[in-house]
């Protein structure tokens, strides 16, 4: 009996003493943590959870979700920078958390080249939305309404949302109150309750067509659920916010591990569960592999840089 105890001790000591070395051939040999920069229940989180399930099945190890909300996905991105580059900590975030937010928030000092990208999956459908019972149906009408009603309220769930409103109201003399909300769920709560007159949405509004209506499309092309609603560009503002869910890993992650993640992501993009999900939440599929994703990140960075300059926004 004593020797059994002894064996257990030895096994336990080995187990705890061994720090996982980069065992590339057997990656993954233990569960992976996928961070999500937004709260549970939101659009990004939903995509992330289904993706985790599908990729986990493919890779043969559980992928555990860790929500780390804040600063428009920035807090999770900061955390990823300090994670071990062994492939066991990955991040699913909108691309804009790296290509746009650093222009808006001084504290976000990370840059695109601080990370490696395993690919992109779905497209967000940024938009300006309103409670369904409001008396305006597009941005022009909303602005007219706001002129007549000082103190109109707008819900902003991140710094991009704030910027959009700042640009729209610049030089217009409109008095619009910006109400901070936490995540998509927070935005939905104040819109459903009629507490605000307009809100910025990353796409989650699409799941509630009977309670929310589209006022302006924030993407570069019109949106499937609102084909007669103009984009912000068409409304005369030189802004569009294309963003994609992106799988991000720490920069020094070994190439072989990134390749495995890339392959699993590509496979997931064809998975029926993912395709059904994409249809259900109305986030169109937009798969890119690692190289294309990296190129897209840089392109967005340049384009958003121009946008920021043009609107005269400064980092806060």
């Amino acid at each position: 009996m004593l020797s059994n105890l002894g064996l257990t001790f030895v096994a336990a000591s080995f187990g705890t003493a061994v720090v996982a070395g980069p065992a590339l051939a057997e990656y993954p040999d233990r569960p992976i943590t996928m961070m999500i920069g937004y709260k549970a229940g939101g659009g990004t989180d939903t995509v992330g959870r289904v993706l985790a399930k599908v990729m986990g099945e493919d890779l043969g190890q559980q992928i555990n979700i860790l929500n780390k909300a804040g600063a428009g996905g920035g807090i999770a991105t900061i955390k990823l920078k300090k994670a071990k580059p062994d492939g066991y900590t990955i991040l699913l975030n909108p691309s804009t958390s790296l290509t746009l937010n650093p222009y808006l928030v001084k504290k976000l000092t990370y840059r695109i080249d601080d990370y490696t990208y395993a690919g992109m999956l779905t497209a967000y459908q940024a938009a300006l939305v309103a409670p369904i019972d409001r008396p305006y149906n597009n941005l022009k009408e909303f602005l007219a309404y706001a002129k007549k009603n000082p103190g109109t309220k707008y819900a902003a769930l991140n710094s991009t949302a704030r910027m959009v409103m700042n640009v729209i109201t610049k030089d217009s003399g409109l008095d619009i109150s910006i109400v901070p909300v936490k995540g998509g769920a927070g935005m939905l709560a104040v819109v459903f309750g009629g507490q605000v007159d307009l809100a910025y949405s990353g796409g989650i509004h699409q799941q509630h067509p009977t309670k929310i209506k589209l006022i302006a499309a924030g993407t570069s092309s019109r949106q499937p659920l609102g084909p007669n609603i103009p984009t912000l560009r068409e409304d005369g503002y030189d802004m569009s916010f294309d963003s994609f869910t992106t799988l991000i890993v720490p920069k020094k992650t070994p190439k072989a591990i990134v390749a495995k993640l890339e392959a699993a992501l590509a496979k997931a993009a064809k998975n029926p569960d993912i395709i059904a999900l994409s249809a259900r939440v109305s986030f169109p599929m937009a798969h890119r592999n690692g190289a294309d994703a990296t190129a897209e990140m840089h392109r967005q960075w340049r384009d958003y840089g121009k946008l920021i300059k043009a609107t005269g926004t400064t980092a806060k």
């Binding site: 504290k107 769920a185 939905l188 309750g193 939440v281």
Partner: protein
Amino acid sequence: MENLIGGFQDILTPVNIAWIALGVTIGYVVGVLPGLGKGTAVAVAIPLTYYISPLAAIALLIGIAKGSTAGSAVSAILLNAPGEPSSAPTALDGYPLARQGKAHKALKMGLFASVIGDFISTLVLIVLAAPLAEYALLIGPVELCAILLFSLTFIGGLSGSSLSKGMIAACFGILCSTVGLEIETAIPRLTFGVLELQDGLPLIPVAIGMLATAEMIVQMGNHKSIDQQTSLLDEGNASREDKIVLWEDWKYCIPAIGRGTAIGTVVGILPGLGASVGSFLSYGATKKASKRPELFGKGAIEGVAAAESADNAVVPASLVPLFAIGIPGSVIAAILIAAFIIHGVTPGPMMFVEQPRLVYGIYAAMICASLLLLCIGYFGLRFFALVTKVPMRMIIPVVLFLCAIGAFLQGDGIFGVMVMLAFGVIGFLAKKLEFSFVTFLIGFVIGPSFELTFRQSIALLNRDITQIIDRPIAIAFIVLTVLTIWRIAVANGKKNQLAQKDSEIPKT
């Protein structure tokens, strides 16, 4: 109606019942262990649910939530070391009862109250989800901020002698909740350069430290007298009256349970409040309504009933916004959203149209879970009650070890254990110097909600306080807050006067 029957038939298969039972059992056992709570249990279970049917998966998760909420009463009553802040008021009267040899009675009442609160709240969910959710939307950020303020004041006032000390504890709690990166601007606050603090002070290690660890340290310092007490208990054979719940006890407890269920249900429906607020408000309400308030804190069984019924009523009620509208009102609800969507169900009103049978199956599962909770809890009682006979020198190391494990799991590793130790010492000081550690915890738990709704209110009121006239609910709660402060100040003033008179009597 065939859907309702169909749903029940779906659930009443041996396999599904087994899943529910498994969920309730895992939840209950995890809840019993001090230091481990809902968070750990649900986190473990989620991946398990990918591979089983949607109905079974959701039933399992809900079972875990219900079980752990009820189970945490056990460690509260037996060890004064609640596993979660929401069971802290249970300990206030449950532990004294256990020390008086009435552990069985307290455990039983805790279980009954939990099950009743849970069951009724489930019925409310099933019958009233839609209309209630619509009403809940009337509670916007301004109203919520006022409610939080009232809750803080009310709970702070419960803390015995001094409102000032209670409010200091609350302020401390909120202060600690601001540690970390500020949510909008990512500016670090009070992190003093410590990297791990950028995420804020992790809740579970703080709670474990303040509640369980601090209590263990206090008991460590008093173990000789505690062991003496325990041996005295053994010598007089526990009378039958001390082991069961008498009709007399029920007379006090039934109104408490009624109040608790109502309060718990309302608190559950409103987002941002949480089970701890519910159980404390309930405890306070029952204490104020009681004809024997002096007994509270010394073994008033209705205190246990009030706390546990509210605590458990919050869980099903927090699913109301999820089912009726599709917005999660609590962490468990948010995790369930993901589970729903993964299994192809979009939570919200469309659920009832697209998959009514599944929804009714879930309802049936929840009712089954309540009943199973009663059986499993009752069965486990006699084993758990034996813990009171174990000497302190065994209990303290084991409990502290479990605390360390819980803090480690939920606090990003060894950092969590450091936080646990720090707050264990702070909690010890708070307990001994009579600063309400529970008000601190409530402040800590609702601090982020309070700050967010405060900022939202400022924007919604267009920085103009007079606009609050449009919001009668908010005004009502602000008035209640002022009234509460007034009443407490008056009551404390009287108490202090009496105490002064007492001490002026020369002691011979």
